[in-house]
């Protein structure tokens, strides 16, 4: 794919008179091919026109930029001609003079006669020969827009930018002009970006429809491919089998955004006070190497530095205890497994939806799949060996332990098994056991293997009970593992505290990824109130080479415990969407029809960005690019349902609209 225009991570921040600033656009990344027709759609105020102006060069991006044919756009120019919303014809010039003004200026090098015939040709193209000598004041809206289009096309722009070109026209005129524009664009192979409000217009004209979320921090919510073959006609496109599916998808997106806008409008705004709303916090954690950032934040004074007087780290017995602790408000915040905030928000099991916010990923990787040493003795070295053993012993169902059904361990173990043709619900038995009981259960032969974080794999290896058949670096390097989770209500009541908490932990994460600090952190983790295990089971992977217990020489795994580097901490929405697909795949939660809304509310990139900016760290979210795990199956963030359909081993996928504020409205009605 040759990229013609690249909108490269564009931010647009407007300074406000009171000294603060308004982030209109956040991290817009879009690559456009030559000849492509792109529509930008979204509610008013989402920054569509601002984005168009940035591409035109009329406005400047606060960060990032626009690259046209390998060169950065620095100022407006005729290669990016704009058809303005209100035509912008000069009222003192006739139709001919308006177009001639553009042609004469841009095509100075041509002889006069040629320029004249270009003007004439384009007036004929839009069918305005009879109005050549008229001034704009004497023309109807449709005719004016035709003049504006003729003016834009006459100077042969590389890129045509249209800002709601047909917004002010009646339906009949609009229809005719749309077809005319389409025809002209197809003939002259011009690349177009159009801002519009009109769903049908977007579908008729575009190759891709880019849907922008509401401001502030407006970003690309979804991109819809329009695979209707060209040439298109207005009457024919509606007959395309997927027309109404696509139309519904866009309208559903817009409705989600509308609901979100309403919610934000009614939300009580807490006036930021000087200082924090709460200075003593109870934070839940599970004894794992991954809890290092929390321990470091407390022991190395990062909590103190950011204004907390006392932070109690509450060692919890299981992930379920953490979930209920947050739900019952027993603890303020907690280390959570990656899928937990999403699962709780959707309403896992019988639970009511409880919006949980995660604005920080605490760690990536750090997990492994351990199987009982017996399998090793049977010659199991790979996934396919394991499948063979299962097939051979039909009479026995092997039991594998996971820590929580919404945890990355469960999702990854299942993904790993399924990609090897093992149905995790039929061919094996998966049970939930808290991490610290895994080794004991393996020893007691209650389970035959498990997927868990360290030190519980290394402990089994050290005690010669099991071997590591795969680490998560083998399956999905850089997977989100532990996140910071707080309830949305808590965030709304303690906005400053929340940001301070993110900042403290972000600095702690930074500290944890400094290799020279690792020995010190190891000492902290070994204390009984934290992980409390022997240093030699924490060391592998964390400091020392990783020993899989297979007799091979231990291997140095660079990124086994990743706390900060490589944009670890950003709770990106694309990986969130992947988690949603997997939760739905195994029937843990339904797949939310309003997945964009769910992701926007749970994975708060904006709050992460705010904290990161205050610490002068990068606040960039990873791009919305497709990615794949070890088996090569491509996950496209614009087509989650398609991805789910392509996975063979899965449950029946339930799609359900999750109404998050229903419970709240009910409470209000009752009180």
């Amino acid at each position: 794919m040759s990229v013609f225009v690249e909108i490269d991570h564009v931010d647009r921040v407007f300074p406000l008179p009171n000294g603060s600033s308004y982030v209109a656009l956040k991290n817009i990344e879009l690559k456009i091919k030559q000849g492509e027709f792109i529509s930008l759609i979204g509610h008013s105020g989402c920054g569509k026109s601002t984005l168009l102006n940035i591409v035109a060069g009329l406005d400047k991006a606060s960060r990032g930029g626009v690259i046209l044919e390998g060169r950065q756009v620095t100022r407006p120019g005729p290669d990016r001609m704009v058809v303005f919303q209100n035509y912008s014809l000069l009222p003192w010039l006739t139709v001919y003079e308006n177009i001639a003004l553009a042609v004469d200026e841009v095509m100075k090098h041509l002889p006069k006669g040629d320029r004249k015939s270009i003007v004439q040709h384009h007036i004929d193209l839009v069918g305005l020969r009879q109005a050549v000598k008229k001034r704009p004041g004497e023309l109807s809206g449709g005719m004016k827009q035709r003049v504006a289009i003729a003016r834009a096309l006459a100077i042969r722009p590389k890129l045509l930018l249209l800002d709601e070109p047909f917004g002010a026209l009646d339906a009949l005129t609009r229809g005719g002009l749309q077809e005319q524009l389409m025809k002209i664009c197809e003939e002259s192979h011009v690349t177009c970006i159009m801002v519009t409000h009109d769903v049908d217009e977007a579908l008729l004209l575009s190759d891709r429809v880019v849907m922008l979320t509401n401001g502030p921090e407006s970003h690309i919510g979804q991109i819809l491919q329009v695979p209707i073959p060209r040439p298109r006609s207005r009457m024919e496109v509606v007959k395309h089998p997927s027309y109404y599916t696509m139309r519904n998808e866009i309208i559903y997106f817009l409705n989600q955004q509308k609901r979100d806008k309403k919610r934000k409008a009614t939300q009580k705004v807490v006036i930021p006070r000087q200082g924090l709303e709460k200075v003593t916090l109870d934070i839940g954690f599970i004894p794992l190497t991954d809890c290092a950032p929390l321990v470091v934040a407390k022991e190395k004074g990062f909590f103190k530095k950011h204004g907390f007087e006392e932070v109690n780290l509450c060692r919890e017995t299981s992930w379920n205890a953490i979930a209920s602790g947050i739900a019952t408000k027993r603890i303020d915040a907690a280390q959570m497994v990656a899928g937990m905030p999403l699962a709780m928000t959707i309403g896992m099991g019988e639970n009511q939806p409880l919006p949980i916010v995660t604005s920080l990923v605490l760690s990536r990787n750090g997990n492994a799949i351990t199987l009982s040493k017996r399998f090793y003795e049977q010659g199991v070295r790979t996934l396919s060996d394991f499948k063979k053993v299962i097939a051979q012993t039909q009479d026995r169902v092997y039991t594998l332990g996971v820590v929580h059904s919404s945890s990355m361990h469960n999702l990854m173990l299942r993904y790993w098994l399924a990609s090897g043709g093992i149905d995790p619900d039929r061919d094996v038995n998966l049970i939930v056991i808290p991490p610290q009981q895994m080794v004991a259960s393996l020893k007691a032969e209650k389970i035959d293997g498990y997927c868990v974080g360290e030190p519980w794999n290394s402990l089994a290896v050290n005690e010669d009970l099991g071997f590591v058949i795969a680490t998560d670096l083998d399956i999905w390097p850089g997977n989100p593992d532990k996140v910071l989770g707080v309830s949305e209500d808590w965030v709304n009541q303690h906005p400053q505290t929340h940001i301070a908490l993110i900042k403290a932990l972000l600095e702690a994460c930074q500290y944890c990824d400094e290799p020279r600090n690792r020995e010190e952190i190891l000492q902290l983790l070994c204390q009984p109130q934290y992980v409390g295990s022997a240093p030699e089971s924490i060391r592998p992977g964390f400091i020392d080479p990783y020993n899989r217990g297979t007799g091979e020489a231990p291997q140095l795994l660079q990124r086994f415990n990743q706390f900060h580097l490589d944009n670890t901490n950003c709770p990106g929405r694309v990986e969130g969407l992947w988690l949603l697909t997997q939760l739905a795949r195994w029937g843990i939660t339904p797949f939310p029809k309003n997945w964009i809304e769910i992701l926007e509310r749970v994975r708060r990139v904006d709050l992460y960005g705010e904290a990161a900016r205050q610490l002068r760290l990068s606040d960039l979210e990873p791009d919305r690019d497709p990615f794949k795990l070890f088996d090569g199956m491509v996950f496209n963030p614009d087509d989650p349902m398609g991805y789910l359909q392509r996975l063979d081993i899965r449950h029946e996928i339930q799609v359900k609209e999750i109404i998050l504020d229903a419970a709240k409205t009910l409470q209000k009605a009752m009180s």
């Binding site: 035109a56 060069g57 009329l58 100022r75 407006p76 120019g77 005729p78 990016r80 001609m81 704009v82 303005f84 209100n86 912008s88 000069l90 009222p91 003192w92 010039l93 003004l101 553009a102 200026e105 841009v106 001034r135 704009p136 004041g137 004497e138 100077i155």
Partner: protein
């Protein structure tokens, strides 16, 4: 006696003058004429012939009929000239002063309107200067020019330039962003931007400034001429006052009013020809 002679031409000529218009424009013409007539009657009643103080309209007409009304262009040398010549002399001064003010005002206005720094530097100064009454400039201009005619012209100039500058500045600043964007996208040369966008877009504002300016200069010239003397309608009024010729003053006032009105109309007529339909 004088009253009787004055009545005759009035009753003979006016109906003739009216009949040409009566057919089509009666509805527009009649009300102001009636208003004038009523005003005249009231005036005549308030100032009957023979009363002291102000003369009535009939008396005015009688006293000024010969030579001021029927011979507007007589010239007896010195300042003893017909009202037409007096007005012409005043108009000449206004013409020179106002033309200079227009040229300088539009030029300065465009400069200030296009350059923010210059705007910030000069705008407060202009806001103060424009409030200075025209006559306050006269002594300093007399001191500077040492001659009465250039001083009067300078007063015209300095009076009418402020509204022209300020309106032109606003006009240039108010050029719709859309037109500027068009110019930016097309990368119009400075010269073309100036001629095709800036000037046409600012023209309605410029003409507003010119209209205010011409009004003010006509106001100022009368006062200035009263003080500097010489031929001119202002001095004519002053001279008549010194000789207690109240009727002449009143007639001169009518002339001054009509000429001021015509000047305003001429400028606004010019504006209507120049400004495009959509900008109004």
């Amino acid at each position: 006696m004088t009253a009787r002679t004055a009545r005759r031409p009035k009753s003979n000529k006016l109906p003739k003058f009216l009949t040409t218009f009566l057919q089509d424009k009666l509805a527009i013409i009649a009300p102001p004429l009636i208003a004038i007539a009523v005003f005249m009657v009231i005036w005549q009643l308030l100032c009957p012939p023979g009363s002291k103080g102000l003369p009535g309209p009939l008396q005015v007409l009688g006293e000024t009929w010969d030579p001021y009304i029927i011979y507007p262009l007589f010239d007896n040398g010195g300042t003893d000239k017909g009202l037409g010549l007096q007005i012409f002399a005043s108009l000449q001064r206004v013409g020179i002063g106002f033309s200079l003010a227009s040229l300088a005002g539009i030029g300065l206005g465009i400069l200030i309107g296009t350059n923010k720094v210059i705007y910030r530097a000069l705008d407060p100064l202009f806001q103060v200067l424009r409030t200075i009454p025209p006559l306050a400039w006269l002594p300093i201009s007399l001191a500077a020019f040492q001659q009465s005619n250039p001083s009067a012209i300078f007063v015209i100039f300095i009076t009418s330039i402020w509204p022209i500058i300020i309106n032109t500045t606003v006009g240039v600043q108010q050029i719709p962003q859309d037109y500027r964007n068009v110019a930016k996208v097309l990368r119009l040369s400075r010269q073309k931007y100036f001629l095709k966008i800036l000037i046409p877009a600012a023209v309605p504002y410029i003409f507003t400034g010119l209209r205010i300016g011409i009004g003010l200069s006509w106001l100022a010239i009368i006062a200035a001429e009263m003080l500097v003397g010489g031929v001119g309608i202002g001095f004519f009024i002053w001279d008549a006052y010194n000789n207690s010729l109240l009727s002449q003053i009143i007639l001169a006032l009518v002339y001054v009013g009509v000429v001021g009105f015509l000047l305003d109309r001429i400028v606004s007529f010019a504006a209507s020809k120049v400004v495009a339909e959509e900008q109004k």
